[in-house]
């Protein structure tokens, strides 16, 4: 089942690699100080930082995961863009960038130190550094596995080559190099996947047929193993109607409040407005206007990305529902040996006893199988009429489980001839590298300025920190590789780590919101409030779970999905549980921070907080800017466009 690449595909891949390394090489002569290397010396034009902003966020996991969600949930997946990103990006541009950029902080933790104190900075920078490494490792592991399973590339080779390329260009040109290559990667991703989406649409029979097929699928998603219950006809094709109708009516299993408040406010603002990985791109802009316009430039492609990343998943579902297209959503990947024992089981099966045949084949494959398909396969093979190849294909089609992460590659291999195949795979690798470079450049800055310079070796020369920045880049990549191996060996440990990160991240926006807009907020309040929020999410998780995670006797099946201290509430889906967890964590952190701030005395005077808190900072004047460059004006226009999109796909 492996795909064969030809010299043309490899040439495209090599050309891309050559250019990203070349960019690093060209920039290396401009790297003279630690600030050139780690913060780009604040010199980059808006359109470049804007596209880098979006590209750093568009890692391989996002690309693969959004297509997977497009298949599982349909158009409602767009909420992760239109509800879960655009409003927060606009808020960052209009309200928060003036403080980040204006304070001259070099990183988000450094802003926290200026606004509050060292404790808050230490907490934020340590959590961020650890999370970045693991996030990078998880994504590397996922990509290397995908390349291994689908292209037959060696896992270690994929891991080392990809991270080696990132290492070379980041080490040479620092943040500037990461940002510049991210722009190149942005175009690579868009231009590499666009033809696949076009061919998919054409194959399905354009938009009308797509909608028609998805209406049919929604009423019987069991046929494609997409879900265990039937939904209303518009469950895959409307963004809001199924959500407004309640959790039982949409495949995500979420209600509108959790969607808007949990995702649209807490999680989305927490990510886009406080995550240094993306904010760093805007902080590298050449001036305040450019910095504020960075997230706005990024919002335009972000708003349209669903057509590139979510649509393929929906197309896959529609294709799978058309019998003459000979396509299924890829099943979990099984080894050839497993298929061989499955083929043997089919040959040995007695067509007169279908139940036993189904069980024998299912046991041989180690997966649930579609009894109807196996019965007809066994019947068709009666007397050994089918070739091994035909039985293999029959087995592939009858596995009653989907491997959604394989959707995007299955479409690439379906439609791309040699040449275009190389382009699309290069796009996938580009998305992986842009995500990884984003992690690495954010990590090395936080380590060098917020941990090393702040606590381990203050007062050294800039040359020393410059050296440290380069050194930690190498260390960061090595640590990511370790994290990737760790992820490949201990799946459970990785799940726990991601769960804990969820707890740490959920309350973060409350701290920033109070810190930026309320001068009375104190360091102690922020510090203890953050801990309270983290504890709040952990307790919430321990007391709730999903409906499917409780067996008939009322016992919790998988403690990773919560409920280990007793089940107070059950949510219809993990997504709903997540959105509510974020909501609770935010409210806990917000309340605690506010109350403790009122009980403690201020340690920073109004004068010290100038430029850091809204009410004490002179308003940014942008009347002298042309209308189309004023963040507030552009922000409102973008918000209106976003609302129009929501209405169109209502």
């Amino acid at each position: 089942m492996h795909i064969v690449l030809h010299w043309l595909d490899y040439t495209i891949l090599l050309a891309y690699t050559g250019f990203v390394i070349g960019i690093g090489w060209m920039l290396s002569r401009y790297m003279k100080t630690s600030s050139d290397f780690l913060t780009s010396g604040r010199s980059i034009p808006t359109w470049v930082t804007g596209l880098a902003f979006i590209s750093a966020n568009l890692g391989a996991l996002e690309l693969v995961g959004m297509a997977a969600s497009g298949a599982k949930y349909g158009i409602a997946t767009c909420h992760f863009y239109w509800v879960g990103a655009i409003p927060a990006m606009i808020f960052l541009a209009v309200f928060m960038m003036p403080f980040y950029y204006g304070s001259k902080a070099r990183s988000v933790p450094e802003y926290l130190k200026m606004r509050f104190d060292e404790r808050v900075r230490a907490l934020n920078s340590i959590a961020f550094a650890v999370m970045t490494i693991f996030a990078s490792g998880i994504s590397m592991n996922a990509l290397a596995k995908l390349l291994n399973q689908l292209l037959g590339w060696n896992y270690n080779f994929a891991l080392f080559v990809c991270s080696g390329v990132v290492l070379v260009y980041v080490l040479k040109g620092g943040l500037t190099s990461a940002i510049y290559t991210e722009v190149l990667q942005f175009f690579m991703i868009v231009l590499g996947f666009a033809p696949v989406v076009y061919l998919g649409l054409k194959d399905v029979g354009w938009w009308g047929t797509l909608m028609e097929r998805l209406h049919i699928v929604a009423q019987n998603p069991m046929a494609l193993n997409l879900n265990t219950t039937a939904f209303r006809a518009d469950a895959w094709t409307s963004a809001w109607k199924p959500v407004l109708a309640g959790p039982a009516n949409n495949p995500m299993g979420v209600d509108w409040f959790a969607m808007i408040f949990g995702l649209g406010f807490v999680l989305s603002f927490g990510y886009w407005c406080t995550n240094f990985l993306v904010v760093q791109r805007a902080m590298a802009a050449k001036n305040m206007t450019a910095a504020r316009n960075t997230p706005l430039v990024a919002a335009v492609p972000k708003m349209l990305f669903p057509a590139l990343v979510i649509l393929p998943g929906m197309l896959a579902v529609a294709l799978a529902s058309l019998p003459d297209k000979d396509y299924r959503i890829p099943p979990p990947i099984l080894s050839e040996a497993t298929y061989a024992s499955g083929i043997a089981a089919v040959k040995a099966a007695n067509p007169a006893d279908p139940a036993a045949a189904v069980k024998a084949v299912g046991d041989a494959l180690g997966k649930a199988v579609d009894p109807v398909k196996i019965t007809s396969l066994v019947a068709a093979n009666a007397g050994g009429k089918l070739s091994d190849e035909q039985i293999h294909k029959g087995l592939y089609n009858s596995i009653a489980e989907n491997y959604y992460d394989g959707v995007i590659i299955s479409l690439v291999t379906r439609y791309c001839p040699t040449g275009l195949l190389g382009l699309a795979l290069t796009a996938l690798l580009a998305s992986f590298m842009s995500g990884m470079a984003g992690n690495v450049t954010a990590f090395n800055t936080v380590w060098t300025y917020d941990l090393y310079q702040a606590y381990f070796a203050p007062g050294r020369t800039d040359a020393h920190y410059f050296w440290m920045g380069k050194f930690i880049t190498v260390v960061g990549i090595i640590l990511s590789i370790f994290a990737a191996y760790f992820a490949s060996m201990y799946n459970n440990a990785m799940d726990i780590i991601q769960l804990v990160f969820g707890f740490v991240n959920a309350p973060l926006f409350a701290t920033f919101l109070l810190g930026m807009f309320w001068k009375r907020c104190t360091g102690t309040g922020a510090f203890l409030g953050l801990f309270g929020g983290i504890a709040g999410s952990a307790i919430f998780h321990a007391l709730t779970t999903t409906t499917g995670n409780v067996d008939a006797a009322g016992h919790v099946i998988n403690v990773m999905k919560g409920g280990y201290l007793g089940v107070v509430t059950k949510f219809p889906s993990e997504m709903a549980q997540n959105f509510w967890l974020a909501t609770v964590a935010f409210l806990a952190c917000f309340t605690l921070t506010a109350v403790i701030s009122l009980l403690t005395s201020r340690t920073k005077s109004d004068e010290e907080l100038k430029g850091l808190v809204y009410s004490l900072t002179p308003k940014t004047v942008d009347h002298n800017q042309p209308l189309w460059q004023r963040p507030a004006v552009v922000g409102i226009v973008l918000l209106i466009c976003c609302i129009i999109l929501n209405v169109i796909f209502w």
Binding site: I23, L184, F187, L191, L199, D203, Y415, C416, P417, L420
Partner: protein
């Protein structure tokens, strides 16, 4: 920074676009190869699109370079 990013982007897509388009021309009679892409010679068409994009980027870099000399 002294590097206009439009140069590498323009050069890369011009190169890849030209490669794809030429390959599309050479293989245009190979109907079996283009069965995957629904009978469309996608290499030729998409190669041409990339080529045009690359050239536009290069033109942007050239005219931008005149307005702001690289030393700025």
């Amino acid at each position: 920074m002294g590097l206009d990013i439009r140069w590498p982007i323009g050069l890369m897509f011009t190169l890849i676009g030209a490669l794809l388009a030429v390959n599309g021309l050479i293989t245009s009679s190979d109907t079996e190869m283009y069965e995957r892409s629904l009978g469309i010679n996608i290499n030729l068409i998409w190669g041409a699109v990339l080529l045009v994009f690359g050239v536009l980027m290069l033109l942007g870099a050239i005219s931008g370079g005149k307005k702001n000399p690289p030393s700025a």
